[in-house]
Symmetry: C2
Subunit: 402 residues, 2 copies
């Protein structure tokens, strides 16, 4: 590397989908949340961001730090959130350099950051969590920072709240914290993916619809106008965090599922209680909820749990052992020709048709789902960011593509 | 009447649409609510139930009391709620007869009750409120009971909670009360229709869809499973009742509308927060909400308020003076050929097209509304039950039809 004075580090980072939702900021600049949240990190075999952070004394200082996202140069100065992350990471590097003058002065070199997602932005998946997690992890690696993922989560959080949960794999809690400076608002791994590796996530991507309200705006509308929201933040979520951690520790799927569904509904209820009301669920989302409930009823136990972020896409959690009942049934409803059934988790459903008799499910919901879902993503719980050697910046500093 | 020993009394009763919603019972038998509610009584020129109560010593005792609804004999013994009303009314009559032995012993004669709605049940309008109000009022008139509408509201309430609000015209509050026997859970007129006669109500009837959950079941699901509901019942509604009464007293439409919309959303938020979640709003309802918000935005002030009961139909309140902006705009969106624009309130919109430029409204919402609304009902605030002489039972006791 030192040949051309270009320093590089590359990392991949995962998407995460919360089962106890983050909604509402108590500090909008520091991205401090009104309540704790908890998520499942999804496998990077399906969805991931790859980011190379590089710096060099040879990069033109006049260009400053640069960022290329999915092949497009971004105006880094337009994003206060990105600037906040870079500045925090650089400060930590400076501390190292001050303590050990033999270290190269990377903190003084311009950064060249290149990032690519392996999933379509059009799928409506929150890519910012994976994006900021990869950015922070890659620069931390480039700077050889000794900070733990939990320490780094404070920095990623300033990029995008939920990004702090993408710095670790498995089951991750983001503690809201109480301090004004946010120093105790950090993400912690509750359990690694290996603790409960059987968790699957089937994402039903709803045919393109303009997003109702961006989540940052929506959150603040809810905090300021919903008379129900304080009850959620102060009373409901704290109890559910305890219950959810216990469910994960015990690998109790029924409890996990029950809390997941209730919390998704509770979050969307607070959206609806806002003025003006915010709707992320549409008739297709409702149909997915109905079918999950029907499948659980027919199965005679809770085998599937739906959850919805700030959009109509359903994420359905289930355990590998009930792949036939849950994944197979949705595959039979939606048709195997739909994009997304293949891939790293597809083998399990290859020869499977409907796990439950489709006649025992709500026929109208089946119709609505069939016409309303444009693709699926079949994935599962996975690991946190990984360091890799396939860089998006060449040894000479040129921007590459995957 | 006495010729044939058939005693008769006939009344009409109105529908009411709440602006502070009733949702949740603290006593399911007595229909005691968890919170107070407030409604606008709608004009009987548009929607009404006509009920004749009759009794006679000549009616066969073996038949017992009988009830005919819209031409169909009902099994009165299958409805505990109807039996409860009849028994309470009979007891009051007995008191009169005991005090004055010269009175005919009507309480000992079998009742023959005949009732007809002038609106299609298929429209999805809660007909039970008008139905039980008419039943109670007609029998009270037959029995010549001295009780006030507020006293009688305790009886109607046992038939159907919201029926207690249909015993009076104009703007009616149902006080939840605190007593276990329900003696203080009564309806009161806040203001007569003449206080604010300009109030209009445009009902957008959504194309037939199976009702998600009957309201009686839904209420109890919410009370037992929604962790947000107690906040609504104990803290939010009591404040809103005060605000709404003030808005009505002052004829302050902006305040009336703001509370109406917030309370509708709050009620539906609690439905969504239930387990399993209850959805009454669908994509068509969402489109109506969007368009009301857009019209208010374009108008530069709050001229319209939406509210939704336990179903997808939108009820849009506005004042006659903005008929063009609100009613006219919806008429332009939906087309004048749709059923329901004619009728007692139709003249005001006869020559009116769009009050606001349709291009300034959400085009997708317009499309969804156009295809999703099957008819409208254009009405306004109106009077309480009225005694009439057109009976549904002949002098000889035969059942007639309107």
């Amino acid at each position: 590397m030192a040949d051309s004075n270009v320093f590089r580090a590359t990392t991949t980072a995962p998407v995460n989908i919360a089962v106890i939702k983050y909604w509402g900021k108590r500090d909008a600049t520091l991205n401090l949340p009104t309540n704790s949240s908890l998520s499942v990190t999804l496998s990077q075999k399906s969805l991931r961001t790859v980011t190379t952070a590089s710096c060099s004394p040879n990069y033109p200082a006049a260009d400053g730090d640069t960022l290329t996202l999915n092949g497009k140069p971004e105006n880094i100065n337009a994003s206060k959130r990105t600037l906040a992350c870079l500045s925090s990471l650089r400060a930590l590097r400076k501390e190292l350099e001050s303590a050990d003058p033999s270290l190269p002065k990377l903190s003084s070199y311009p950064l060249r950051v290149v990032s690519e997602n392996n999933f379509p932005t059009a799928a409506g998946l929150a890519s910012s969590a994976a994006g900021f997690a990869a950015l922070v992890r890659a620069i931390a690696d480039l700077y050889e920072l000794p900070q733990s993922p939990t320490d780094l989560s404070k920095i990623a959080r300033q990029g995008s709240g939920s990004a702090c949960r993408s710095l670790q794999g498995g089951y991750v809690a983001w503690r809201a914290g109480t301090k004004e400076d946010g120093s105790d608002s950090v993400a912690e791994e509750i359990a690694p993916a290996s603790h409960w590796p059987e968790m699957r996530a089937l994402i039903l991507v709803v045919s393109a619809e303009k997003k109702d309200v961006p989540s940052t705006t929506g959150m603040q509308t809810t905090v300021h106008t919903s008379p129900l929201f304080a009850t959620r933040a102060e009373h409901i979520v704290p109890k559910r965090m305890i219950g959810m951690e216990e469910a994960i520790t015990k690998r109790d799927f029924a409890a996990f599922a029950d809390l997941t569904m209730r919390d998704s509904n509770n979050f969307h209820a607070c959206c609806l209680d806002s003025e003006p009301p915010i709707f992320y669920l549409n008739d297709v989302s409702r149909a997915a909820i109905r079918l999950v409930n029907d499948i659980n009823r027919v199965a005679g136990k809770v085998v599937a749990a739906y959850t919805f972020d700030a959009g109509p896409n359903a994420v359905i959690y289930y355990l590998d052992e009930v792949s036939e009942i849950v994944g197979g049934t949705f595959k039979a409803i939606l048709g195997g020709e739909l994009e997304g059934w293949e891939g790293p988790f597809g083998d399990r459903l290859k020869s499977i048709s409907a796990g439950v008799d489709l006649n025992s499910l709500d026929s109208k919901a089946i119709e609505v789902l069939k016409t309303g879902i444009s693709r699926v993503i079949l994935t599962g719980v996975g690991e946190g960011p990984e360091k890799i050697d396939t860089h998006l910046v060449s040894e000479k500093g040129d921007i590459l593509s995957l």
